[in-house]
């Protein structure tokens, strides 16, 4: 069956709870009312001709501009080799969608991941806790307005710009060399010829090394760190 036929069958069974088929968007999808999603899934799994035995994926998309989070279900039928994409819209401030874990066991871990990454609570899920991130993690990373915390339990997740650090290191070294150098007036007074002056300069270990011409130029101060 193609997407139109599958959609027509769902529409005939559930009426207004099943929205229109959005076809212009390469992979067509159907938006389903949140409170009907479990029934629609059960029907899609059991109805003859549909036989969606395989829940391929459950995921979510955050749309701050529309103030909603879409939960996306990719259903597949291994028997008939057809597929359909269902979507459920959830309010962004309190996203909550019925769990389809009772229909396909595969949804158990997939819904946990959506909860972890987007903060959608699945009502009726037997084990609704974070799956990839630690339980005390703050925020849901795949939300568009997610701000990374400075670190986790004292472990920082940022670092200074390595270029800025290099410039600071070179500056500090130059200052140390300048401080350790003999007073600039003394050197020309003792040196009789230019040849002896260079000889002493090369022989004495902590001699004031001239600043190499190839030293890295200081980075522009305005350059932003790639790591925030």
């Amino acid at each position: 069956m193609n997407a139109q036929e599958i959609h027509a069958k769902l529409k005939a069974q559930f009426g207004d709870a099943v929205g229109e088929l959005t076809e212009a968007k390469i992979d067509p999808f159907v938006t389903v009312k949140s409170d009907k999603i479990v029934e629609v899934c059960r029907f899609a799994k059991s109805a003859a001709g549909l036989d969606f035995d395989y829940c391929e994926d459950v995921t979510g998309i955050d749309w701050p501009a529309r103030n909603l989070i879409e939960v996306v279900y990719h259903l597949f039928s291994l028997q008939h080799r057809h597929q359909i994409v269902l979507k459920v819209e959830a309010d962004r401030s309190q996203p909550s969608v019925p769990s389809i874990e009772g229909v396909w066991k595969a949804a158990n871990w997939l819904e946990r991941e959506v909860y972890d990454m987007l903060g959608v609570t699945f009502v009726g899920h037997p084990d609704m806790r974070r799956i990839l991130l630690p339980d005390d993690w703050v925020g849901h990373p795949l939300r568009k307005d997610y701000q990374e915390a400075g670190g986790y339990h004292g472990v920082t997740n940022t670092r200074p710009d390595p270029l800025v650090r290099l410039v600071q290191k070179v500056d500090a070294e130059r200052k140390a060399i300048a401080a350790a150098a003999p007073p600039p007036v003394a050197a020309p007074a003792t040196a009789t010829t230019t040849t002896t002056a260079t000889a002493t300069a090369t022989n004495i270990a902590p001699a004031p090394a001239p600043v190499p011409a190839t030293a890295p130029a200081p980075a522009p101060a305005k350059k932003e760190s790639p790591n925030g």
């Binding site: 992979d27 291994l78 997939l110 990454m117 991130l133 630690p134 339980d135 990373p141």
Partner: protein, 383 residues
Amino acid sequence: MAEPVERRILGRMTPSDEEIVINFGPQHPSTHGVIDFVTQTNGEIIRRSIPDIGYLHRGMEKIGETVGYPGFMPFTDRIDYLAAMFANEGYAIAVERLLKVEIPPRAKYLRAIAGELCRISNHWVAVGTMASDIGASTPLTHALREREAINDLLEELCGARLTFNYARIGGVSFDAPEGWGEKILRYLDHLDSYVQEYDRLISLNQIYVKRLANVAVISRDKAVAYGLCGPNLRGSGISWDARRDLAYGAYPEFQFDVPVGQGKMGAVGDCWDRYAVRVLEMLESSKIVRQALAKLPEGEIMAKVLRKPKPEPGEAMGRVESARGTMCYYVVSDGSEKAYRVRVRTGSFMAMGIIEELSQGLMIADLIALIASLDVVAPEIDR
């Protein structure tokens, strides 16, 4: 602050006086990466084992939203570094569908050749480490030697031995070098006969078979319900292969069989069946590569794609049959030069979900056989 995650999992367990809870992992050679199996046992019998994942989570999906379409390609290598060709290819297919780009035939063939070589290389690691986990250390050294030859071939093609970054949106990055085909054929001749030798060495070894047959049987219904895919699904006797059934890329032009578990040593869907499917798949991959080399068309290897493509708003799913099952990239575009959402659905993640149910009543040593037979790889679980 919430309780540490480990305590939370232990909180779900109520061991009786005779039971103990052990952390099997996260640093353990037979967990196939950094995964923790919080295991409640009564002596050697497992009451249940709950996997705790996420140790290798690097936020790949978030990275995909920030780096632009072509920029995400090298990251996909790191999603599954043992079978990086498929991770590249799946993402490329998803974005090509968004852009409505048809790639040149030669690029399709090169993707198929590189992919099937990568599958052989991945399966060598899978069958080798499985034998090693069961306690036979010799087969792993043989398997890694075989894989080395394929690494050399793929290095000659794209310069990398592990993280290939070979596919491009619209084609592939390099054409086949001079004399590459003959080298592959020479290796495949060796492979076809060597698999027989490997079977004599370990696959049909009595001790090995007894450790795997009838252990952790996954029934057909359970495999489908839990969304298993790839060799794990086929091991349960379901003939489903995206290469044949979805007919993407150059695969419709090749003749090959899809091996399924037949319960030769025990019940259909036991650990040995999943193992045997992988061994047989190497031979099928060998067939595909031979056909692809014989029919390899001339021509371009890249379609015309802008350096910074901007797909129309929409969404597309790219599916490939990876070495670990159907790998899906779900890419949503909002019309800008960066993806709005990249979702990666992997075979390892789905396979991990079944362990809690399957572990009940197993011996501890059988849990190791189960993990090995599912061929999970930690970065692909955590992404």
